[in-house]
Symmetry: C2
Subunit: 447 residues, 2 copies
């Protein structure tokens, strides 16, 4: 679908054919945005210049920050303000937050006072807090309104809101007290007052709440929007489900990348220079841990000198520990992210499970490996020490896979943060130590 | 919040205090469900027996499959059918799909013919396809209706639908031709016909489409629901955004677990036996790959015998390759999942980037390590070979981190499937081979 749009746009750019340009009518703004972001910047701006301000507003929402900035800075102040007039406040805030302070102030000073005030407030919240992702286009009505009055208001405000199926209700003190489903308003008699239709079981958030928690609540309660209220229960905004989906994808990306020691903003098309600068620090931390592992091995240089086949077997111990630990690590990090795993009085049961699981898997794999190596090298003690070492190492790997993310969480650090690197270090150090120490103990039977 | 519910429920169970039991009125069904799933099965059923069928319907949606089955099988056929009458078709289908064929048939045969027919159709779709997650509670109106007629219908059908803000429109041939926003209906004059208000840019899916693609479209176009149509453009159902969020979380869990070689259905509270059975096969595959790595090292037993410090340095090569590769792997798997990375004519640019990135990071880390080891062991050739080996290994690691998931994708396999295990194998084999082969070449300078 986007292929066709791209072809038409390129034809226009290269050959200047401009009849029948009806991209915006025939396509979804998200598709137009997708194609625009594949064009060269100057071509993109050329296409943008063909669109009117309302169309630009629809497309710009779907572009990434860099392109948004490029388009906005190519326009005059009053054009920008006109484009903003077709956009929701959360999207305007995102754009303003990326502009130079100079330009941002110029824009805010040119806007209507009330609008500017709302945007200044929104700009004040952390970008990954509820306040940072909320918007102000919602319907809030007084509980004393009748159905008929409410419907009039809804007809009037509706077109400017993001959500219409849920109407928020406040009382005389301006406190948010409940919600009414538009369905119930539609089917109620004309003189019903809203308070009678109201559901008082409110699920809400405060503006400081982390966006991850907001997403968790929206997912748990199957909401299409969640209200944000302040300490006095005054409604400040709503967070809509489409933004929550973005948060979920963002948090999942963050988890997966951080686990591997990658900066959460790296993506497949990050520029080379950024990738180098962002990855090297983690790799240096990793190098330091590798030195620790290497030092552990160096304690047993003499043993390896005497029985060089130990060096051949070392990778088996390391790989099995690393991978068994990684299995547990992934399950635990995911469990934390989905809110299934929290520390409480029952947590010891899960630790016991990890220990037994590690013992069983370690013993099974160790026994198999021990027998294979016995047949290959003809030395039963070699088989015995790899059996013991693998059992202990896989047991320890499971424990670390469980404890590292939980430990990070208790320290207030993201449980995914470089946890794979810490895990490998732990399993390598313990694995090699146990394996080589056992070899040292049994050295007379191995030589 | 759920703490209080739990306390009250336990008090009821233990002491039989039954006045003021108003859990359902005071709490969200999702919270009731959360507490129920923490109770012992017999206690859960005791609480369930206090709820009426409509309340059970609200709670059961939020429970997991096992508990749903337990509750349903504890009820009589006509009670179950009454509970179902308060539920949406997609949720009923999920429950029916988990019951024994016997019970399922009994239930379907007792239902109204039309209802049973819809459910039989829904049961026919793959559970991870669009058909498998769609529901049939939506509003579909003819394009020739006037605003007034439409509003009458909406009042009537509305309370039974999942989505009300978007009205689907079909023509005389029963083809889905567009959507109308309820806002536009509310604010239009009484005699406007729906066709005039209709948006013809339809985003839709077919029932066979994979749920991951459905989620991608809903996220891309910021939808609250997406229609499902058949080949004749007849509307079959809708998929709502709350189900899409579940799909996104499910697919993300799958990616993270599969990457580490864990069965996608394992969670933190899986029973021990299942964890053992599901993890062991992958660990055995991993053991096989570990043997391959070990065999690679064994080719150079003599070299290690002569220069035992090589065994001490081996873990550094392996760890750095594994982790550098893992960084790229995570970025690539996430890029594929988010639809940012597809194979096309431009893909070679990304490969070049990986090569340069690997060369730079490898050279920087290798140089540093080489210098450190030169000072520790006083042998410049030892420093030289670790510098060369690490540069090559980190370069190769980046390439494999890029190519393994893409290769799996081309083969039609989930790109995340055990990719970390394949990656470690590749980086270990290449890393050790290059390192030890270089040592063999320079052996005269090392002894």
């Amino acid at each position: 679908m986007t292929e066709k749009i791209k072809e038409e746009m390129l034809q226009f750019i290269n050959e200047g054919i401009s009849d029948n340009i009806s991209w915006m009518e025939d396509n979804h703004p998200a598709d137009i945005a997708e194609v625009l972001s594949e064009l060269k910047p100057e071509n993109m701006l050329e296409i943008i210049s063909l669109l009117d301000n309302q169309e630009i507003a629809q497309v710009i929402e779907h572009l990434d920050q860099e392109l948004q900035k490029e388009i906005i800075t190519s326009k005059e102040i009053d054009e920008i303000i006109d484009i903003f007039s077709y956009m929701s406040k959360d999207n305007i805030t995102d754009i303003l937050g990326n502009l130079s302070v100079d330009l941002r102030e110029k824009l805010l000073n040119q806007m209507k006072h009330g609008e500017a005030q709302i945007l200044r407030n929104l700009l004040g919240y952390e970008i990954d807090s509820a306040g940072g992702i909320m918007t102000t286009e919602y319907i809030l009505l007084k509980e004393t309104l009748t159905k008929k009055e409410a419907l009039e208001k809804i007809k009037e405000i509706g077109p400017r809101t993001e959500v219409i199926d849920i109407i928020y209700i406040n009382n005389d003190k301006k406190e948010l007290v409940g919600t009414v489903d538009l369905r119930d308003i539609l089917s109620a008699p004309d003189d019903t007052i809203l308070a009678e239709l109201m559901d008082e079981n409110l699920i809400y958030v405060t503006p400081e709440m982390d966006q991850e928690k907001v997403a968790y609540l929206v997912a748990k309660y199957d909401l299409t929007a969640i209200p944000v209220i302040n300490k006095n229960k005054v409604m400040l905004g709503i967070i809509t489900v489409d933004d929550v989906i973005d948060v979920i994808e963002e948090e999942n990306t963050e988890d997966m990348l951080r686990m591997a020691g990658v900066h959460e903003e790296e993506s497949i098309d990050s520029p080379l220079k950024k990738s180098v600068i962002r990855r090297l620090p983690w790799l240096f931390i990793n190098l330091f841990t590798a030195f620790l592992v290497s030092m552990t091995v160096s304690l047993f240089e003499e043993v390896i000198q005497q029985v060089v086949v130990l060096a051949v077997m070392m990778p088996i111990v390391a790989m099995m520990g690393g991978n068994a630990g990684n299995q547990t690590l992934s399950v635990v990090i995911r469990g934390i992210a989905l809110g299934e795993l929290t520390l409480n009085k029952e947590s010891w049961k899960l630790i016991i499970k990890q220990i037994v699981l590690g013992l069983i898997n370690g013993a099974v794999l160790g026994l198999f490996t021990g027998i294979v190596l016995y047949f290959v090298y003809g030395n039963p003690y070699l088989g015995l020490i790899i059996f013991l070492a693998m059992t202990v190492n896989i047991l320890i790997a499971g424990l670390f896979g469980f404890l590292i993310p939980l430990g990070l969480k208790v320290l207030g650090v993201d449980p995914a943060m470089a946890s794979a690197i810490f895990l490998t270090t732990a399993t390598d150090i313990f694995g090699f130590f146990v394996f080589l120490w056992l070899a040292k103990v049994f050295i007379n039977y191995l030589v």
